[in-house]
Each structure stands twice: as structure tokens, then as C-alpha cells.
Symmetry: C2
Subunit: 184 residues, 2 copies
Amino acid sequence: MARHREFDEDKVLDALRDVFWQYGYDGASYAQIMAATGLQKGSLYAAFGDKKALYHKAIARYDGDAVSGAVKMLKDDTLSGEQRISRLMDALIKDAETPQGRWGCLLCNAATDMSPFDSEIEDKVMAIKQRVKSAIKTALKTTSNPNATELVWAAYFGGRILIKAGATKATLRALKKQVLSVIA
Amino acid sequence: MARHREFDEDKVLDALRDVFWQYGYDGASYAQIMAATGLQKGSLYAAFGDKKALYHKAIARYDGDAVSGAVKMLKDDTLSGEQRISRLMDALIKDAETPQGRWGCLLCNAATDMSPFDSEIEDKVMAIKQRVKSAIKTALKTTSNPNATELVWAAYFGGRILIKAGATKATLRALKKQVLSVIA
DNA sequence: ACCATAATTGACCGATTGGTTAATAATAAG
DNA sequence: CTTATTATTAACCAATCGGTCAATTATGGT
């Protein structure tokens, strides 16, 4: 018995995710958010809440697609452990030298940008991080070095940051080779 | 034939470095810069230039102490290559779970915060990064795996970010162990 | 003592920040 | 058609952003 929403919630959430992904929490202004979503501040506020709430939605969105996809692959037992880590590193190489790659990883960004200031975000990010690390551990179980979780995680996390900082595909390929040699 | 400077330039540069280190370029407001340096905006502008110039000074300062110290150690041929990488990772462990550790690495922060937007900063950071990677390469020359530069660099860079994201000393110790096993 | 020079201060600038809200528009129920 | 409910818009808010500058203060040379 009232007016309908004019926007596509899925598209708005994707746009939210992308804006915070690119610019971070502080870096994303309402001007950019409005341009990306096509909504006015008031609509955003009414539909989702304040900026922090928008950020939470963006992280949940990222968790639901990018992260979940990676976790699923890392736990896919139709692949060998080595193959799974290889694919994980391939994802890095694929993103190097691309605009999206230079956005980094939304969760890594969130972990470094916000965590000292907002405990809710910190908890959420920490939980997702643990899920990924656990998935890496699962993948490593059948390899020659099942204790390399921290190394693989640091290399992956570090690789994302390196890409953000402008590293080339060649650099990432070298990193992959060395990581694989540890677990081969 | 004119008034003297009332401030200690060394202390002001240290304060500048610390503020940008903690908060990043955008995150550091003049209110914080003024509080940390004890100077008014006008004095800062007269003495050093605008905010971007202050940031350059901060990076140069960081390069001159923290980075140069690490590079010197990595090239110290009174130590074995393995010892040098061990010490590099020890520095990470020492910083984990400390306030300063959670500031991250000023250069890594600069590389990820600013590089897409300011080519001067990008060039400067890239040059310093190459110096460190080259020092790592030198240290690795006498080890069993002289091609592990990218891995060590990614682990170090990644470790810095992990610390910023709240990783424990135990996590960093595990990372160190795994890195050393690659070059032992 | 006087003056030229430089350091310092604090007020002020326009622009932008995140956030709020009254007015308007659209819809479904009665 | 009328009315209650909700979505949407655009104007507005105080606070803060980086930056500027005239006025003040302190110094060394003459």
C-alpha cells in the first residue's frame, strides 16, 4: 500500500561494493557513492542506514561473491592441493596490471584501513580472514608441506598488495613459482 | 638579520613522518599535523610547502632511517645470507602486536594509498622499493635459493600488512620459519 | 635606537564532508 | 476518488577540509 522502490537492490549493492573497494571507507565520498549507485543520499540512508552501514553491506557483498568463490575452489577435492594453490596464485597473476587488480582486495583494504578504529568491522574481517586461511589449510593437507598456511596466506595477501602497488604479471609469476616450490 | 626558527627541524620531521605513517596522506588532517608538530599551518607552509610537500618530507625521513637501516643490514657481509633474512623477519616479529607495528610500513602504505593518483610519489616509492628488493637479492646470493627474492619480498611486505591487520607474534614466527626453510 | 628581514600566529576563505529533513511523488487499500 | 504509506528528491545543516594572508613578534645589521 505504498510506493515501490525504483532501484535494483543487487545493482546498488554491487556499486556500493565497487566504490568502497576502490576508494576505501574514508576515501569514498557520498558524491562518489551517489554517482555509482544512481541514488540520492536520502534514499541510501532510508534504505540501508548511514555510511558505516553501507560499508558493512559492501563487505558482506564482497564476502558473498569473491571470497566465497575462492574458498569453494580451495576446498574442491576434485583438485589436488597443489592445483588449488596454483589456481589461487593464478587469480593474482590474472589481476596484476589491471584496473580491478589495483583496487586490491576489499577485505585486505578493510583490515588495514578500518580495523584499528572500528571493532565491528575488525571482527567481521577477522572472521572472513580465518575462513580463507582455514580453506588454504585444507588445500595444503595433501601437499608435501601442510604447515605452509602462514606462508601461502602471507604471499597471497602480500601479492594483492603488491598488485595494488603496481607489480607486474612477471613479478607475480615469480612469486607463484616460488610458492609452489615450497609445497611441491 | 631576521628572526630565528623556534622549532627543532629534526623533531618536526619525525613528527611529520609519524603522523603520515599512522594515518596516511588523506587521513592525516592539519589538526593532527599541527598537534604532532606543535606548529601552526602557516609555519608549516612557510617552512616546507603544502601538504603534498610535507608528505614527501615524511617519506624521505622514513627512507633515511627505517629503510636505510634495513638495507644496510641486508648488505652486511659479516652476516650470512640466512642470518640477514632471519633478522629481517625478526624485525617483523618484534613489531607484531605493538602500536607502531599496526602503523604498518610507511612505504607500503604510500604505495597502496597514493600511487594511483600521484606519479611523483609513485616514482619515489618505486625507487625505494627497488633498493630494498635489490638488498634482499644481495642477501640471498649466498643462500641455497638465490631466486627467492620475490617470495621474501612478498612475505615481508605481506607480513607488514598482516601486522597492521592485527596478526599475532605467533603468526609472524610461523611465517619466518617457513621463509627460512625456503632458503636454508 | 632604528630598520629590514624572517618566523609565527590566528583569523578567515571557499569547498567539501557526512548527515538530516521537509516537501513531493507514487502506489495500494478502502 | 480519497487516504495512508512509502520512496524519492533537493535543499539545508554544522563541522571539517586544505590553503592563504595580514598582523604581530623576534632577530641581526647599521
